[in-house]
């Protein structure tokens, strides 16, 4: 027996397209869901820092603290960093972790202490530096935006 010709269900097809469009609009403004290509590499680097033993710097540096690792992961996963270049990640001698960006003449160092406290150093290359504390994600975001010249 000949098979019946199967036509697409145009009503369902239209509904499906409407759902996709609605979904796209709903999430397109949430930048933090867009991960930069370098993020996995940076997470791997942060994990590697956990292997450092005391005196890793030959000056008595402490191992990186778990609290600093978890805090910096939370930071990176909640900030709008899609347009940022890859940061340089460094262990700090007190057990903290530092992130460093230089974009043209704007230089930004963000440090997470072993207890999770966050500090920054904002520098114009060839000019003065300003140190300070960061109390929330919004403040961190503002300095990242400054580094990008936004």
């Amino acid at each position: 027996m000949a098979q019946a010709l199967r036509l697409p269900n145009f009503i369902e097809l239209k509904r499906s397209r409407q759902d996709q469009e609605s979904n796209r609009r709903q999430w397109s403004g949430v930048k933090s869901l867009q991960s930069p290509a370098w993020l996995k590499e940076i997470y791997d680097r942060i994990s590697d820092l956990k292997k450092l033993k005391e005196d890793w710097d030959s000056y008595g540096g402490l191992p990186v603290a778990d609290e600093a690792i978890s805090r910096i992961r939370v930071l990176l996963s909640n900030l709008d960093i899609e347009d940022m270049p890859k940061p340089h990640v460094a262990p700090l001698p007190d057990g903290g972790i530092g992130l460093h960006w230089r974009v043209a003449d704007r230089d930004l160092e963000i440090e997470v202490e072993p207890n999770g406290a966050i500090h920054f150093l904002q520098t114009r290359v060839g000019g003065d530096s300003t140190p300070g504390d960061m109390r929330n994600l919004k403040e961190v975001q503002e300095y990242l935006d400054w580094a990008l010249g936004k």
């Binding site: 030959s58 460093h100 500090h119 140190p131």
Partner: protein
């Protein structure tokens, strides 16, 4: 007991001081392929940073007291003093030329961070102008 430290008068401002760094941790790669020193290169737990007097020791000797992955950077004693530090002699297990920079007056963490950045930028500037 509170220890009194003195600036080493026999170390001139033009004398070079050597410091071990770990390039993977203390230098940041740039888009043009060069690497720049970050403030982390001068940071220590004690907030005083160790160096060796270049005229009294070889780079090889300084490196021999660290790790294979380390390198040496140099900074003028006058640059360190100019930021408000004295250079204190402190012979250590590695070499008698060991010194450390100690702030003349108490400094906040943020100020020390700023000073370390200034030293790193001096090294970067000299490297760039010598290249």
């Amino acid at each position: 007991m509170h220890q009194i430290h003195r600036d080493a008068e026999d170390i001139n401002d033009d004398d070079l001081l050597l410091r071990r760094i770990t390039p993977a941790d203390h230098t940041a790669p740039q888009p043009d392929g060069t690497r720049i020193l970050t403030s982390y290169a001068f940071r220590e737990r004690s907030h005083e940073f160790s160096m060796y007097v270049a005229k009294e020791v070889t780079r090889e000797k300084v490196l021999s007291c660290g790790f294979e992955t380390q390198e040496v950077v140099e900074i003028r004693a006058g640059d360190v003093r100019g930021l408000g530090y004295m250079i204190v002699r402190d012979p250590d297990n590695c070499d008698d030329s060991h010194v450390f920079a100690k702030a003349l007056a108490p400094k906040s963490k943020g100020q020390i961070h700023k000073d370390c950045k200034a030293l790193a930028e001096i090294v970067n500037f000299r490297r760039a102008t010598q290249a």
